[in-house]
Point group: C2
Chain length 241, copies 2
């Protein structure tokens, strides 16, 4: 399993992903699930991945290949695509093709192979946009009403986002919100695990700003988690019924 | 969908269920999901249900029939069974048989029919016990380490239980905990809906104590929900990262 969450706010994009992958409970590994494609000042594209690692790695490798291919044009390279919509469409097509091929390979063993992605970014002169790309290649976009997208184990971490995140949320509060959302998920689902990757892309910067890997036992994260637990217990005592 | 939660505490049993059933999003109805079988002072058995309504209703009807059958003995009537373990076993067998029959009927249309139950109670001279009965009829039991059981949409409401419920929790705090757990679930899953059924069975009373139906717009529930929202937002502001 996996938990990735992205916020699209007036002030910028805030992204957080875990790094745990597992093939059964007895086969756990650590893989990065957040990737950047960047021409600083010109365009920045972040991709977060969930699902079958063979599908997501192959999809990313193909996107990379297209970027390095001198023959690639704006319909195949996400670094040349003229809009974020076109970027989402290229990623969706690549994901869907890769997923189909691998699912065909797995059919004989009755194994499934699927994956989804969050794609967020901006190109100079365009708006910031954020999409959730489904395994079939179609996608939805974050809006004013629902400025966040989640993939993987989304349920445990959704209530806090529902309560505190709006497009006007500051980047500092947004960081706190995604970390608390992750904290609830880490507590309840063993297949979501540290370390975490956190990134912030400020509006119109067209490059990755703050980027941080939060390791197991990170003192700031542990303190936040403990403070939140204590605050919840205090709140519980105060609420009346 | 459904959300039912039961706590087994030193002081007694606390049970909460919603009442929404749905066959597709366009076919929503209200059905009780909490049932009691009681010989006050002698034995009390509560059953909460999740899953296919045809399976749960038929299972309960069969349990009822066995209780009214003069020929029924301690191996078939949950009002005559000598232990709560035997009660769980009778309910598991009835559920599993009913589920299999209905699943066979549904096979042609490739529809699924399944259900699970929480069974909690006590007979005079025995301990309070609480079981989660799976569709196949096997079951697990609440323990000191994990004094709560959930069926249906369990994820949204689990974090608050994890944080505040222990066997030593008072019945008043336990009521608050299950109602807040339900509040988080109601906010996030449309297929869980008001009204709610709440029941408390005090230890060694061997009868249902407080029993309350909480209707849509209940002022106490609304106030608790608003206070909790406000407290969470306050806590969010205070936590540092």
């Amino acid at each position: 399993m996996t938990y990735c969450v992205g916020l699209k706010l007036n002030a910028g994009l805030v992204l957080l992903s875990d790094t745990r992958t597992n093939a059964g409970l007895d086969n756990i590994a650590c893989y990065r699930k957040m990737f950047f494609f960047e021409t600083p000042g010109e365009r920045v594209i972040a991709i977060m991945t969930a699902g079958s690692l063979s599908v997501t790695q192959t999809t990313l490798a193909r996107l990379d290949e297209a970027n390095e291919d001198e023959m690639a044009d704006e319909t195949t390279s996400i670094l040349k695509a003229p809009t974020m919509l076109q970027v989402a469409s290229i990623i969706g097509d690549t994901l869907s093709r890769t997923r189909r091929e691998i699912a065909d390979q797995c059919r004989e063993l009755r194994q499934q192979a699927s994956a989804s992605m969050i794609v967020a970014g901006q190109r100079r002169g365009g708006d910031m946009r954020m999409f959730l790309i489904y395994p079939e290649g179609n996608f939805i976009e974050a809006t004013e009403d629902t400025p966040f997208l989640q993939i993987g184990e989304h349920k445990y971490g959704k209530p806090i986002l529902d309560r505190v995140v709006t497009p006007a949320t500051s980047l500092a509060d947004a960081q706190k919100a995604v970390l608390l959302s992750m904290d609830s998920t880490l507590r309840s689902n063993l297949s979501v695990g540290m370390p975490l990757d956190l990134a912030i892309i400020e509006k119109d910067a067209c490059k990755v700003g703050a980027r941080r890997r939060i390791l197991e036992g990170d003192p700031d994260f542990m303190q936040m988690s403990a403070e939140w637990s204590a605050a919840l217990r205090d709140s519980f005592v105060k609420v009346t019924i």
